[in-house]
């Protein structure tokens, strides 16, 4: 007992304790983040310089997706996924993937517009699939209210009613949709990237998709009429705010109120 209590007083004890604490939290975090499953899927359809695209593909994508995009253990076949899929995955920087994980993250695009175009063309030439949407579907001039209804029925359960994103199983998630271009939203709907279901034109018509994009862009540009939106995360964020900021400020006032003036 005595020996232990003396050791506890040792100057190095604090450092040892800190190290232990760091190791434990780090370890816990590492365990907590080890999550299962990965993979991402893609699509096809497009035009001209497929040859350039093929070169780019072989240099950058074939490691996982295989020669001729026929797929390997590490990546699915891209035959028939269409140009829309390539434009979405490469255009949002999800592909090429940084590392295998539960899900490909959005990051700065690795290829410029022309290269993305060439890659799309190459993959589209391998088999028919959803094409890149036409301009008039992305003009954000649809019916926002109808789009809102479609969004709530088909999208809100994963992406949240205010498009703030949400959690899926085992480390996957549905991303927030603010700052995503209308084109990419459209392409995601028709191709169903990663674990997102496909919303084909038979399910949600092209006009419906246009309405959804209109709705999303409108609520994004509107902002919240009530002030800062606290991430649009709902009651959890509101509760945290009232406990930390609300009560915090009030406690500050109570301390001032009961302190003596000099």
């Amino acid at each position: 007992m005595k020996a232990l209590s003396q050791k506890r007083r040792h100057p190095l004890a604090v450092i040892a304790l800190l190290l232990m604490g760091l190791l434990v939290t780090g370890g816990l975090y590492a365990v907590a983040t080890t999550v299962n499953e990965a993979k991402a899927s893609t699509t096809s359809y497009s035009a001209s310089d497929t040859a350039e695209g093929e070169k780019l593909f072989e240099a950058n994508c074939a490691t996982c997706h295989g020669m001729g995009a026929s797929g390997t253990q590490d990546g699915p076949s891209l035959v028939g996924v269409g140009a829309a899929a390539v434009d979405f995955q490469v255009g949002t920087g999800r592909m090429p993937m940084q590392m295998n994980g539960p899900q490909a993250y959005k990051k700065p695009a690795q290829f410029n517009e022309e290269q993305t175009h060439q890659l799309s063309g190459y993959v589209a030439s391998l088999g028919a699939g959803p094409a890149i949407p036409e301009e008039h579907l992305l003009d954000e001039k649809g019916d926002a209210a109808a789009g809102g209804e479609l969004f709530r029925v088909n999208c809100a359960m994963c992406h949240n009613a205010a498009a703030a994103g949400g959690a899926l199983t085992r480390g996957k998630f549905a991303p927030a949709l603010a700052d995503v271009s209308g084109k990419h939203i459209y392409e995601a709907m028709v191709t169903g990237p990663q674990n997102m279901p496909v919303f084909s034109d038979a399910n949600v018509s092209p006009e419906g998709k246009r309405d959804i994009i209109t709705f999303l862009k409108q609520i994004e540009s509107n902002g919240s009429p009530g002030g800062a939106d606290l991430g649009s995360l709902g009651p959890v964020a509101e509760g945290l705010f009232v406990w930390i900021a609300g009560l915090g400020v009030i406690i500050g006032f109570t301390i001032w109120l009961t302190s003596r003036t000099s």
């Binding site: 994963c158 674990n195 279901p197 084909s200 038979a202 902002g223 109120l257």
Partner: protein
Amino acid sequence: MGNHSDGSPNHSGTVATAGQNEVEKFQDPGLPPHRLRLADTDPKAAKRAERQVAVLFGTSVVGTLIFLVAYFAIDLGEGAGIATIRLQNALLGLGTAFAMLGIGTGIVHWAKALMPDHEVSEERHAIRTEEDRQAAVRIVDDIVEETGIKRRPLIRNTLLGAVALAPLPAIAVFGDLGPRPDKKLAHTMWAPEEGKLKRLTRDPDGTPIKASDVTLGSAFHVIPEGLNELHEGKLNEKAKAVVLLMRLDPASLKPSAGREDWSYNGIVAYSKICTHVGCPVALYEQQTHHLLCPCHQSTFDLTQECKVIFGPASRPLPQLPIAVDNEGYLVATSDFKEPVGPSYWERDEHERSINS
């Protein structure tokens, strides 16, 4: 662990010896001497505090003006955008905050800096005096005695009985708050009407779905044909009948006995109402074939007939038997074979009556 935990005074100076008496305790030195504030001694400081209070009250007046200007000068009429509403809300709030905080901080500052700050001590008095207590007990005893309730058990018992029963009407009178449940929870709109099978239609517009529309990896949110035309109880029916329609590789489905013909070419339909507490289980992961409920994270595996693989639900989602009619549209061949949604006391009884 300290040795003090055994309570033995021999080991540690930190433990009181038994029978510690008053002499061994520190005596209460009484209230500390009063310290004067700046404003008590320096008339200039007092004057300054007075001005500060006045400024705070003045801020309140400014706040009230901000509120009034924001209320009357900002027009919410036609063409006013969200930004206008946000501006008005912020200014109304800011005005109120100034108006209130100005008064509040002003009064408090006044009290703190200028009103006497001598702490005073007041005696506590016993909540009741001993005399009162005895008198009260005597009075209660006398009252009870004079009623004779102890000597007349018949009166006491019948009174107790009457009082116990009297509130019953007050409970019974709420009997018309709602109808009896009967078997309403056991049936949904999917049951064929007059031999006509109900088509699966899109939520929310109600257009029918062809089997060929449902491509691999897609998910359709489905309501029964005719739901949108209902005038009464539309939401009640929708609350039970909503279905999620998905297409998988037929090879990945391993239907159990009796369910072989419930799907069509890998297209399956499952109730969207969670068997836990009834949230819509609408999150479909098309690669893992998992359905996730966003409310409490129950996870169902589509390839195992929606068996629960995670979370608080205990029962698989009910499957809707589907087929294709001669025009190629998807139809429900019958109602669900079990009650949908969260479990309830009579659920098993209802399930048996559906299947008998």
